[in-house]
Amino acid sequence: MAKGTLTGSRIRERRVAQAMRQADLAKKAGISASYLNLIEHNRRRIGGKLLLDIAQVLGVEPALLTEGAGATLMASLREAASAVPSAQAELDRVDEFAGRFPGWAEVLSSSQKRISALERSVETLTDRMTHDPHLAASLHEMLSTVTAIRSAASILAEPGDIDPEWQARFHRNIYEDSARLTETSRGLVTYLEADDAEATETGAPQEELDAVLAAAGHYVQDLEEGGTVHSAQKRLGADLSAPARELLGQWLQRYQKDAQAVPKSDLARAIQKHGADPAAVAEHLDADPACVMRRLAAMPEDILPEGVGLAISDASGVLTYRKPLPEFPMPRFGSACPLWPLYRALNRPMVILSHPVVQTGRPGSDLWVDALAVPVGRVAVNRDPLFEAIMLVRPMPTNAPPHEEPLELGSSCRVCARAVCPGRREPSILVAGA
């Protein structure tokens, strides 16, 4: 979703933070409350004088409303602050910092992400040094050969006579060992270079896949038009490591099946009638709701202007797919908020859990989530199914039940503002004593 399309959400967030009623802001800005409501739900674009008026009433720079400082950026800045607790960064003013110095905030955020990625890379490499059998065998062979060369060379270099036969033997050994050392070194360099060429910044195939899908907008035109997985994989995965290409291939195969089961044209018509409500769309199309959720998340702006987020988790709780929204960040590393309905769905397979939600510490981020756990693979005799859960995150629907209490969710424990939480795994940098 483009930055500008969230202006309404930011206006709402600012207004709620100032405990101002919608009607009061509308009145001061000279518009009706219903029109402001449409703006706040991003159903009307806003700009020009009205934007300036609303910004003035809220006491913020207009750019902060149009450009905003997304939740992902905020989470990243908070993570940066948590990495240097001794600096005692003014966390309560992080929003102001991002608004006043967006360029510096982006620099800090990017640096934080890079540091996290490099830390993971170091972990991966350390792990490889310890457990890679090929590397261990190569190093052992190199060190053994060096030892043999050193011993033979020492014998030859020592004062005193050595029997000519032994002398010739050690010369030959040194020659043979040096040739072997050359070959082993060359092989090791080739192995490490090949590995390096395949590795990304993080060394994690899932991270590579995430980056490719984000760049593609989670939409694959080729497969929508009947193209092959092979060609799409070739186009999208040219720069990926072999493991990441394999993941991409699996993802594309599922995309292709989904696109065949729920064609874009049919989905577009259903969306016009039901919006991004996956249960309603699935019923309308007589389709699998999980498939519909994935299809909704793949739709471009011309089909689904408001955009939706999607998270998929395997049975261990690891996010295997993430399409975050600016107002609903999803952690890149570590685990997500255990209160997400995504995880609760694993306890209630085949039931769509549908709730309004709000991000902890972010008033005005009203969203709706639908979560569903479905079996993976075919049904087999005497074998318990393996489940995966899928969760769609969408803007608050206009026909949402008015009195339903929203679930208060975080992104991850580390950057969650919730003071008391039964699911907390680690202390938050935002809550003293959490």
Binding site: T147, R150, S151, A152, I155, R169, F170, N173, E176, D177
Partner: protein, 123 residues
């Protein structure tokens, strides 16, 4: 006073060099290159000092040493372990398995000689 050394190592040129420097000092040196039957060879040869490589074909030097330490006739045998890995945990593993001395490749001839000498003195 030199004695009998058994060297269990799979790298032929290391075997040759160590055999040479120890023999020159008056040691009788037997060698063996396979991990599978190494413990049997040790028992059969009854050396004064055992030089044992960690990474051997068929069986690890740690396993061989544990086996030897479990038998009454070899539980006190002085053992110098050779390894290409010098991390603390490797040293700990060697100590736990019962190594008398631990030496990391690449080592010098003088270090090997010193180690073997010191093992015969302390034993």
């Amino acid at each position: 006073m030199a004695g009998h050394v058994l060297l269990i190592e799979d790298e032929p040129n290391i075997i040759e060099a160590i055999r040479f420097i120890l023999s020159r000092e008056g040691w009788r040196v037997d060698t063996h290159s396979n991990g599978v039957d190494a413990a049997d060879v040790v028992r059969a040869k009854s050396p004064d000092v055992l030089i044992l490589d960690v990474m051997l074909p068929g069986r690890s030097g740690y396993d061989i040493l544990r086996d030897l330490r479990g038998a009454p006739d070899t539980e006190e045998l002085p053992v110098l372990m050779l390894t290409a890995r010098g991390q603390n945990k490797d040293r700990e593993m060697a100590e736990r398995a019962g190594a008398s001395r631990f030496m990391t490749k690449p080592f010098s001839n003088a270090e090997v000689l010193d180690a073997v000498r010191s093992l015969t003195v302390t034993s």
